[in-house]
Amino acid sequence: MGTIVFFIFAIMAIAAAWGVVTSKNIVHSALYLVLSFTGVAVLYVLMNADFLAAVQLLIYTGAVAIMIIFAVMLTLRSEICESNPENRHWGWGALVACLVFIVMALVILANPDWRILPTPWTSGGSAEDLSLLLLTKFMVPFEAAAVLLTMALAGAVILAKGVKESK
């Protein structure tokens, strides 16, 4: 059961990622991106990371995808069917990506420590467990992330809207 679900959604995530990088229409790329994020969220559920799956659905397939689609709409000008072309060096990019994947796959498949099956999971992964961890052991990085988000959003507004000349 778990195996079938895993392969369905893993193949869906990878096929959608392939669609993101090969689609000629950038709106289709954005929609494939949503599909890929959803597949990854299901993989999180299979790895007992319930809260992370919810966060993935909310932030990635909700917020990030909508923002990307808005940016596409704000910057599109010519024909939409050819809005996402490859550049001149795509062959080199494909070569480098293939080589990187081959090296990573060799490392993964050659390491005997990683050829393991899951042991029964008893330690949660819910919002309660994670919040306990975030507000005790990882409090300083948590606050730093809050400051980072605030500054990033303020910076994004200033960048997109422009600053009035003072005085």
Binding site: V21, F101, T119, L133
Partner: protein, 114 residues
């Protein structure tokens, strides 16, 4: 639901992450539209998150301190936060550049080249 009887090993999850990462890498190298490059970066960050959660799920034991068992989830959460901040700033930059240059083609962004 109880998925504890799943029989997919750690290396399968890592291979999925590697495939997503390589596809994102290809997109960063090959795409001409800057928004497509941002999407590919998001794919790569997702692949990293899969690896964090997979290692946290498979390489754990009950003897370590209970407060550190979910460290991989916390790392993935911070990656998601940074990705959200990155996409906000990145898309604001895209819109500003588009306003100045009327283009989203990275081949034309060569102000700093002489």
């Amino acid at each position: 639901m109880n998925f504890s009887n799943l029989s997919v090993g750690l290396s399968t999850y890592l291979l999925v992450g590697a495939m997503l990462f390589s596809l994102g890498l290809y997109g960063v190298f090959a795409k001409r539209n800057i928004i497509a490059i941002l999407m590919s970066i998001e794919l790569m960050l997702n692949a990293v998150n899969i690896n964090f959660v997979a290692f946290n799920r498979f390489i754990w034991n009950q003897k370590i301190d209970i407060h550190y068992i979910l460290t991989g989830h916390v790392a993935a959460l911070f990656v998601i936060v940074v990705a959200a901040a990155e996409v906000a700033v990145g898309l604001a930059l895209v819109i500003t550049i588009y306003r100045n240059r009327q283009s989203t083609n990275v081949d034309e962004f060569n102000w700093l080249k002489w």
